[in-house]
């Protein structure tokens, strides 16, 4: 009788893992009962057995936890020295490493993720995150938000049911290093490791109240996120949750950090290393399952072969007890997700797809779905989306890489992508074009080490790597007044846009330069427009652009859309009166169709502009500055006609010219500062390259030429196209800026200038599907700003908050406004012989 090969159950011992049958809330270092005594249970999805009964925190519990966090933050944690915090956090990292087995088992029990994944994949990530960020606590000056940053304060961390502990570490590690105090809100379906983590924090010597845990359901989360004592909300989880949290936070001045998960798209090309591709896809789709859906695109010529290999590999998977070290596929975490996964399969089948599962014995208790391959339907039949992360892989074929890009673009909520090919150049090309923040070549779900800098729409799940604690810090010395209406851009490692106290005024001299002093000749001397004056937007009469404009010839300033000057679609215009009450000119009032056309023009310009090399972008932008410089007298005159003081006008014009030139110069340098390349583990090269967000809708600061120039230059110098809305009182100078742009080599539509009622126009822009980011610099009414922020939050768009009316736009702006308008795309490429 020849011996045979088979696996026997190899159960990870549960000895030493005590789960208290009842657990309270963790507040201020103590376990407390909830005020109203509500409880809920958490269940082992593999068996359906109750693991523990937990407290559901209510509003008063949130009050108590936030107060404890506030006290701990101010009283102990931030009061400690940096090196002191490094010591505590390193001790925490050591404790977590030493207790990795127990934490992994706890996570497997609570979520159903196989212990071979929690133990060998997730816990090493957790330990690495904690160890890495511990060392940041005494280096905060270098975290990218300027010298002497301060912590955000009290941070609320909303955790997901998928990958709860790695998500917790990914957010808590940098937040603790930044000096924030935390209130954790674990998902109702996976709360145990958060409690265990808090216990490890206590044992590591973190002061009581630095890490608090509020277990509970969605109500607890809402109460926490909406609590006025919270300074920062960080959320990991599905896009829907992110959207809800973003909407709750919008307009409150609280900061937001998003790490959202959605669908993973894998693209297998015909020259792919097929065995590795299939193994990677199988591991991600059926075993690890950190994404909420996995869509596989296979080039048609290898589709049959890939599907054969896929079925063979799926048939070898071992489905069963997550605590068995040889188990590949665990249960689905809870009946709702199981039902959702089944619904998703059914939706695909209804759309014509065929489902296949290998034969396997599913346990009779708990919530199980066999590995399922769904072949043939499109990416997104109706009803096929949502949170579930059952072991389901949807498959579709394509014929050309271009078609693959189209298909992926049609899949909603694609948050990460993997490209499988033997051709490095094609891998990098596709990875960039897929448009996700993280893309892997010939791998999936590794930790890419690049920074995630993706504005408010951040998120390829946890694949963000070590980006430092910048997102959890605020810039500069404490502001004089509470900056309630000024949320920093909700992106990691990005300084807030010029906050009132933010950054030392770099050139206070700008306040009073000699009238002629600052007007140094432009870099290519004075270009006195050989082709004659730039076309003036005033109609019908065209004033001499050279002579001083005292007063401007009455006429109408036009809109500048798609490279052309024109009247408002409605033909409406308003009077602009000077200080003396005389009518200076009429100003076209942009309507909704004008706003839409401007967005369309910006979108049309985007491919050309964002594809322009940085080196070519800079000269084109310098030229705009030069044209402005050549017309500074005219500009000063226009400004003075509206605002009065000719001296101040000249100073403002000088500052504006300098600001434009400064931004133009950054356009071919910024990527060197914010891009990274990292040979993480030695076997992969992670390249993080900043990319434009797309079309930025900008509300220009009212009646400030340096302000107008600052916001527009920041948008276009970063490769974005913009639609800027200027107040009627700024129409004359906005028109002059438009003329300068028209005289330059910027592709038509890169800058579009609308005038009229900025807030009204911004409302149309905020909900326009073609707008990718919102800059509310000129919105002075906090109520209106909140409204616009909420509109943007629904679409998870990055928002730059309003800026104080008396903000000194001539002061050193720092890089915050520029970097806030960039996202970082990371491509992880293998390095193997």
């Amino acid at each position: 009788m020849p011996p045979t090969f088979r696996y026997a159950p190899a159960l990870e011992p549960v000895t030493g893992i005590g789960i208290p049958p009842r657990q309270g809330l963790l507040v201020d270092g103590r376990t407390v009962d909830p005020f109203d005594g509500t409880t809920f249970t958490t269940v082992n999805p593999a068996t359906g057995e109750v693991l523990s009964e937990l407290a559901a925190a209510g509003r008063q519990d949130v009050d108590r936890a936030v107060a404890a966090a506030r006290a701990a933050h101010e009283g102990t944690w931030w009061a400690r020295s940096g090196p002191d915090r490094v010591r505590s956090l390193r001790r925490l990292a050591d404790l977590v490493r030493a207790g990795a087995r127990e934490l992994a088992v706890l996570e497997s029990l609570d979520t159903g993720t196989p212990v071979r994944v929690t133990r060998h994949v997730h816990l090493p990530l957790v330990a690495a995150d904690l160890a890495h960020h511990a060392g940041w606590a005494d280096k905060l000056d270098h975290a990218g938000v300027g010298a002497h940053p301060r912590p955000a304060g009290v941070a609320a961390l909303v955790l997901p049911a998928t990958l709860p502990l790695p998500s917790l570490a990914r957010m808590a590690a940098p937040a603790l290093a930044a000096g924030d105090a935390l209130v954790l809100k674990p998902a109702a379906g996976a709360p145990l490791t958060a409690l265990a983590f808090a216990d490890a924090c206590r044992r590591a010597g973190l002061p009581p109240g630095v890490v608090n845990v509020l277990t509970g359901g969605a109500g607890t989360g809402r109460a926490l996120v909406g609590h006025p004592g919270v300074d920062l909300v960080a959320v990991a989880g599905p896009v829907g949750v992110g959207r809800a949290v973003a909407a709750a936070v919008a307009g409150t001045g609280r900061r937001l950090v998003l790490a959202l998960t959605g669908t993973l798209a894998s693209v297998v090309l015909d020259d792919a290393p097929l065995d590795q591709a299939v193994e990677g896809v199988v591991e991600a789709a059926f075993v690890d399952r950190r994404h909420h859906g996995h869509h596989l695109l296979v080039q048609e010529s290898v589709a049959r072969d890939v599907l054969d290999r896929l079925r063979r590999a799926a048939a070898r998977l071992r489905v069963g007890d997550p605590l068995d070290r040889n188990t590949d596929v665990g249960p689905v975490n809870g009946p709702a997700r199981l039902e959702g996964s089944r619904r998703r399969c059914a939706a695909h089948e209804a759309a014509g797809a065929e489902s296949w599962s290998p034969p396997c014995d599913l346990p009779s208790r708990g919530w199980w779905l066999p590995p399922t391959v769904v072949v043939g339907s499109g990416a997104a039949p109706r009803g096929s989306h949502g949170e579930p992360s059952g072991p389901v892989l949807t498959v579709q074929t394509f014929r050309t890489p271009a078609e693959a890009l189209e298909v992926v673009a049609a899949v909603p909520e694609v948050r990460a992508a993997a490209v499988w090919t033997d051709k490095g150049s094609r891998a990098l090309w596709l990875a960039r074009r897929l448009g996700t923040d993280v893309a892997w070549a010939n791998a999936v779900d590794l930790e890419a080490s690049g920074p995630v800098r993706a504005g408010g729409a951040a998120g390829a799940g946890l694949a963000g790597g070590h980006h430092g604690p910048g997102a959890y810090l605020a810039a500069g010395p404490p502001p004089v007044a509470p900056s309630g209406t000024m949320p920093a851009p909700p992106s990691p490692a990005v300084g807030p846009p010029s906050t009132p106290g933010g950054g030392a005024p770099f050139r206070s001299a700008a306040a009073a330069p000699s009238p002629e002093g600052p007007l140094h000749p432009p870099v290519p001397p004075a270009t006195p427009s050989p082709e004659g004056p730039a076309p003036l937007p005033t109609a019908p009469a065209t004033p001499s652009p050279e002579g001083p404009l005292h007063p401007p010839v009455p006429g109408t300033t036009l809109l500048y859309v798609g490279g052309a000057f024109r009247d408002a679609g409605s033909g409406r215009s308003d009077e602009l009166t000077g200080l003396d009450g005389r009518v200076l000119c009429r100003v076209a009032r942009a309507g909704q169709p004008d706003a839409h056309q401007a967005v369309a023009a910006a979108r049309a310009a985007l491919p050309a502009w964002s594809a322009t090399t940085a080196a070519a972008r800079a000269p084109a932008l310098y030229r705009v500055g030069d044209v402005l410089a050549g017309r500074r007298r005219d500009l000063a005159a226009r400004l003075a006609a509206v605002e009065g003081d000719p001296g101040a006008a000249e100073v403002a014009v000088g500052a504006a010219v300098d600001r434009w030139t400064w931004c133009a110069g950054w356009s071919d340098k910024l990527h060197h500062l914010v891009g990274t390349a990292d040979v993480g583990a030695g076997s992969r090269l992670d390249v993080s390259v900043p990319a434009a967000l797309g079309v930025v809708a900008v509300v220009a600061p009212p009646s400030s030429l340096p302000g107008l120039v600052s916001v527009v230059a920041a948008a276009v110098a970063t490769g974005n196209a913009c639609v800027v809305v200027a107040d009627r009182r700024a129409a004359l100078t906005a028109a002059a800026l438009a003329e300068a742009v028209a005289a330059s080599d910027l592709p038509a539509g890169t800058v579009n200038v609308l005038t009229g009622e900025p807030v009204e126009t911004a409302r149309w822009l905020a909900v326009h599907p073609g707008v990718d980011a919102l800059d509310l610099a000129g919105v002075t009414d906090p109520g209106r700003a909140g409204e616009l922020e909420r509109a943007a939050a629904e679409r998870l768009r990055p928002v730059l908050g309003p800026v104080d009316r008396d903000h000194d736009w001539a002061a050193d702006p720092g890089l915050g406004r520029l970097t806030a308008l960039l996202r970082t795309r990371t491509v992880s490429h293998p390095l193997g012989g």
Binding site: T4, F5, A8, A272, P273, D308, G832, G833
Partner: protein, 367 residues
């Protein structure tokens, strides 16, 4: 060089030498036009050339090159990741006991040293028949592997035991001798009573792209082997890349190899899990393509029971249990058997074996 392989005239070869080949070949036509796998393995003595010819690729260096370079690539980083994942598999209790017995039955107990003597070989053969003299339940090994001059000694010592005699031949370990000399070496081993012959490929010719030469030399060895089984040593440690390992394996299989083998044991690195995984994928795909089952032998540097079990896991997960028989999988080693036996004894005394019976996963081994 003379070739002895029957070959189709070029004109008869289909227009798509690459496309007609592997289901994996990245050609638009491969999936649709791949020949249906043959249901029964061809007669090993004569069918291999036919199998190769049916693929239409052994016409010239150019057709072979197009075919071999059309095989799907291997991503080394992904390959290592897979090996690492498989290393976390855990064999405990009865599973480990059975796997240890299986491993013993798959060993090619090897001695390839200059000072080898007849007495030493006889001692080795005794160990091969009864690896654990104190335990009759311990199965014998698969084969004893010696130099050609000691084949007769081994054959006599193993007579009637079922344990095969394997001989290295063909100017082992370098393969650097005229083909006639190498073939004579093979013939001598066969005549002396070997059941199996292990030959090396000409790595120089392979790396220089003279694929047809390598193919024809293996085919000639196959013919010289007659009734014996031919193991073709690729010496993966001297091939430049995983892609080359896969190509060399396909070349050997096309030329009629019965087993493809990683290493001579004389070159470092010898057997590695990554090379073994590439070979396992190749034989799996070859059977899917041609219906013929080619075996895998890993050799060199396998010293511990834990290493051996890791290779079993790797083959089990890649090819399935079909391959885990002495016909299709071998562990070439000299000192491994002692550790297998020692581990076997330890596990036998370990009750149900849970706990410290765990060899492969508790501490994931490094490749």
């Amino acid at each position: 060089m003379t070739t002895t392989v029957p070959r189709r005239p070029a004109g008869e070869v289909g227009g798509s030498p690459r496309g007609a080949a592997s289901p994996a070949a990245p050609s638009a036509t491969s999936a649709a036009e791949a020949p249906a796998p043959r249901t029964a393995p061809p007669d090993p003595a004569s069918g291999d050339a036919a199998a190769a010819a049916s693929l239409g690729v052994t016409v010239s260096d150019a057709t072979l090159r197009r075919f071999l370079h059309g095989l799907p690539g291997v991503d080394h980083v992904g390959l290592e990741a897979r090996v690492a994942r498989l290393a976390s598999r855990s064999l405990v209790g009865t599973a480990e006991r059975e796997a240890l017995d299986l491993a013993v039955s798959l060993v090619d107990l090897t001695t390839l040293e200059g000072p080898d003597t007849a007495d030493r070989v006889r001692g080795l053969c005794a160990a091969a028949r009864r690896p654990d003299p104190g335990d009759p339940s311990c199965p014998p090994v698969a084969a004893v592997c010696v130099y050609g001059d000691l084949v007769e000694v081994a054959a006599a010592a193993l007579a009637g035991s079922g344990v095969k005699v394997a001989a290295v031949a063909g100017a082992f370990p370098s393969g650097r001798a005229p083909l006639e000399v190498r073939l004579a070496d093979v013939g001598a081993a066969v005549a002396a009573g070997a059941d199996e012959v292990d030959v090396v490929i000409d790595r120089g010719a392979f790396l220089a792209g003279r694929y047809l030469d390598v193919h024809d030399e293996i085919a000639a060895s196959r013919q010289a082997c007659g009734r014996c089984r031919l193991k073709v040593i690729l010496e993966t440690g001297e091939l430049g890349s995983d892609d080359d390992v896969r190509r060399a394996a396909w070349l050997a299989m096309l030329a009629g190899a019965d087993l493809v083998k990683t290493s001579t044991g004389k070159v470092s690195p010898a057997a590695t899990p990554t090379a073994a995984l590439v070979l396992a994928q190749a034989v799996r795909d070859f059977r899917a393509e041609t219906g013929r089952m080619v075996g895998v032998k890993v050799a060199g540097g396998i010293r511990t029971a834990r290493d051996a079990l890791r290779y079993l896991v790797l083959v089990h997960e890649t090819c399935g249990n079909d391959w885990l028989t002495p016909d299709s999988f071998r562990l070439g080693a000299s000192s491994l058997l002692d550790d297998l036996v020692a581990r076997r004894r330890a596990v036998a005394g370990d009750g149900d074996g849970d706990g410290d019976g765990d060899t492969s996963a508790r501490r994931p081994a490094t490749p």
